[in-house]
Symmetry: C2
Subunit: 273 residues, 2 copies
């Protein structure tokens, strides 16, 4: 059986979607059709969504599910009367928080993903520019200006993780790919070694690396099992030599790798374990 | 008065942080010290966090606030007994959802930001690679392979928005900066015009654009009020000529711009309003 799910909000809908997906992940045997509905900020849009919910009910033979973060009570009332299983994600928390803080809630929507603090927003944009300009080790002299430098063999997840760290946490994240030049030298470049206090090594299982490289260059020496094992082994030796914390990215998402790096950056010994 | 806030989870903590920040945004007169605590997945880590909470209470003279998405009841019990105002974000919703779906929850943590569907995860990674390779109009012949092409004058927010759309929605997002070459020609490049069904124009208020450009090249012709006004005016003329939907990014975050583009992509007439 398929269930249609709407993530609904008066503004970006990011909170409704993030929280809704987390809750749905507890029910992974169900087939969900996800519909993202940001900017339901007028009564007309709410009524149009109710119409879609009716159609979804007729199509699925079961009512749709709505995850909503609505602050305008009149718009919310229209949705609640719709033909759906409605979960309002804020309602259980705003009042207890208000009591705890001794402050009334503003009831203004769209504040959490808007630019409320220009300085921290500017920091994020600058971090994204930094990550773009310092991808793939193109300017190693910039590593000393970075908050974090990710180092690893080709295809170990460095670039997406750097972009994520920049975009979400405003971190100036650079990366260096360990390539033939490093293997020949038998060590990391001096700029990486000098920055080692904020360098993190990414490693990956040889079998997984081989599968990714085979996708890119089938049958090449670059994708051979022997070459993958060598690259990983020598990278590990370099990491150990300079006491660099290492994270295995094999079955991890960008979000998981980023969260572990943030945790490691804050831990007293800087370790990833 | 300052309140210390912890975002706590057994895995990445992204849901706890997103939802917690949304709730805190309702109380913008309070000064919050935010502490991100992912991977509290052992009783020892939970007890260490309780110790930190005690210290925060002593320092702030008021107990800290905890936003948690805990699925392991034993670890959660340790935190709940801590010296804090504890909000468990999942508890009001898992049970009603379970009843509605007729399925028991898995109680497994960390599923929502992990790689549960390799195909959609691969799509995101490929989209990030596409966005990186097609930034700044370097390969206009690729616009026809894009899901979305953002077009606008220099510094109107194209690059970060493309990266966000790729990273979070797996969209192949390219962008084209309107530059002197286009102004001289008096039109957009043919590759943009050919792709216009999925092209969105970004515009920006002249005053805001001038401020941003002044930051980059103070006193230059590029940053003059006259030049900024001309760039924006001529870009608007090009957008109108090809019936391209336009979004004003002046006071909008990456998340807001991305959400509006997603909404426009799904609306029957493709418009941004």
């Amino acid at each position: 059986m398929k269930r249609t799910v709407y993530f609904v909000s008066e503004s970006t809908g990011i909170t409704a979607e993030t929280m809704g997906l987390s809750l749905l992940s507890q029910f992974d045997t169900v087939d969900f059709e996800q519909v993202y509905m940001p900017y339901i900020n007028t009564e007309a849009r709410a009524r149009a969504l109710c119409q879609r919910m009716n159609e979804a009910h007729a199509r699925d033979d079961v009512r749709p599910i709505v995850f909503a973060t609505m602050l305008d009570e009149e718009i919310a009332a229209i949705l609640k009367q719709g033909d759906c299983f409605y979960l309002e994600l804020f309602e259980h928390f705003v009042e207890p928080l208000s009591v705890e803080l001794g402050v009334a809630p503003s009831r203004e929507s769209g504040r959490s993903h808007a630019i409320t603090k220009p300085s921290s927003y500017t920091k994020r944009i600058e971090a994204i520019n930094f990550a773009m300009a310092n991808d793939d080790g193109v300017r190693p002299d910039n590593f000393r200006h970075a908050d974090v430098v990710l180092v690893g063999v080709s295809r170990s997840g460095k670039t997406p993780t750097c972009l994520y760290l920049a975009m979400h946490y405003g971190l100036r994240a650079a990366n260096h790919p360990i390539t033939e030049e490093d293997f020949e030298r038998g060590d990391l470049p001096p700029e990486v070694i000098d920055a080692r206090a904020h360098v993190y090594g990414l490693t990956i299982d040889a079998q997984r690396l081989q599968a990714i490289r085979e996708e890119r260059r089938r049958g090449s020496a670059y994708a051979s099992a022997e070459r993958c094992r060598r690259d990983i082994r020598e990278a590990q030796t370099m990491f150990r030599r300079h006491n660099i914390s290492v994270l295995n990215t094999s079955n991890q998402s960008i979000e998981e790798i980023a969260a572990q790096i943030l945790r490691a950056m804050k831990s007293p010994n800087g370790g990833t374990h």
